[in-house]
């Protein structure tokens, strides 16, 4: 993603920033391998949710929901920590 520089007129007054604006900066293009969820093996322990440094494992109603590929950097911790091997890492662009 291209980073747009703000002009001085657009800069916020003082040094107070809006919260959580990094959601506009997608880091998914850092990835060379991606995690793929295998629902049949998943026991919804949410260890992957805990282990993800990029908050890219999304949950819904106490269950694994999906990977947010806009932000997943492909580190592979989730697949390594998964106790039931319900996540496998695949090459991007396969």
């Amino acid at each position: 993603m291209e980073e747009k520089k703000l002009t001085w007129k657009q800069l916020p007054q003082g040094d107070v920033l809006e919260a959580g604006t990094s959601l506009k900066f997608k880091t998914g293009n850092w990835r060379s391998i991606k995690p793929v969820h295998i629902p049949e093996k998943c026991i919804n322990c949410l260890i992957c949710w805990m282990a993800c440094p990029d908050m890219a494992v999304k949950t819904k109603d106490d269950k694994f929901s999906h990977f947010d590929y806009d932000f997943c950097k492909g580190c592979g911790i989730c697949a390594h920590e998964c106790p039931t091997e319900a996540i496998k890492m695949e090459k991007e662009g396969k």
């Binding site: 990094s22 949410l46 949950t59």
Partner: protein, 305 residues
Amino acid sequence: MPTLKDLSKREERFVSGHRLCPGCGAAIVVKLVLSAIEKPVVVGCATGCLEVASTIFPFSSWTSPFIHSAFENVAATMSGVEPAYRSLKKQGKMDKDIVFVAFGGDGGTYDIGLQSLSGAAERGHKIIYICYNNQAYMNTGIQRSGATPKGASTSTSPAGKVIPGKVQFQKDLTEIMVAHEVPYVATSIIGRWNDLVSKVEKASKTDGFSFINVLSPCRLGWPHDPVLTLEITRVAADTCVWPVYEVVNGKYKITYKPKEKKPITEWLKMQGRFAHLLKPENESLLKSIQDEVDRKWEILLKKSE
């Protein structure tokens, strides 16, 4: 003690889009620490990887009030914010119960920020100080810090013909904080989320200063395969290189005792910075590190009796 399911339903206080390396331990530290606290939080952060990667203007990964400090003064900043809040509360201008959390790396805690940390601890501010300890100045290019272990190769203590990596042992900051006689001091690892979460919960209910030293792997500086970020900390605990314990009002308790204490080579072989230690010519150095780890572990066992 909340379950992962409970934690996952809590407000996300550190969001995606930060620019920490893939597999960085610091992001996991922040996620676990902030989700362990149910009350509203105010966060202060010393300069370091975490701060430069999460607050690149105009982006911020923080959704709770966040104050950016210089390298040396996050504890001093929070020492101002916390009494201001207490005063507002006393005047009846605020009724929220707020928890104050300070994050610093090992550089901003062990070395540059030590005086402000010591002052805040001595004055007894109600702050949780979290040191995410990656054992060197990773942000500026992996220079040695007071937290870098003996024998580790860094850019300012490179292993070669002159020295075999860092010559000194690391500073024992946890014990320095215990000596401040603050109500809660602990070490933790991100590889055991329940350990870290329960300690942060305890700290947030402590009336006074609390300090938690969390081992946070750096895939770039240690370097290690990023998938091992959590596992490597469990090995650190199993080899007693990083003992996991807490000190509540001066009383020691080891919160994770390995069933079988592993030799330190298990921990060293996972990381590039220690590769030279496993060569035959460094056998005596390796033994001196093992002896020191054993000595410290024995002392800790005695203290926790």
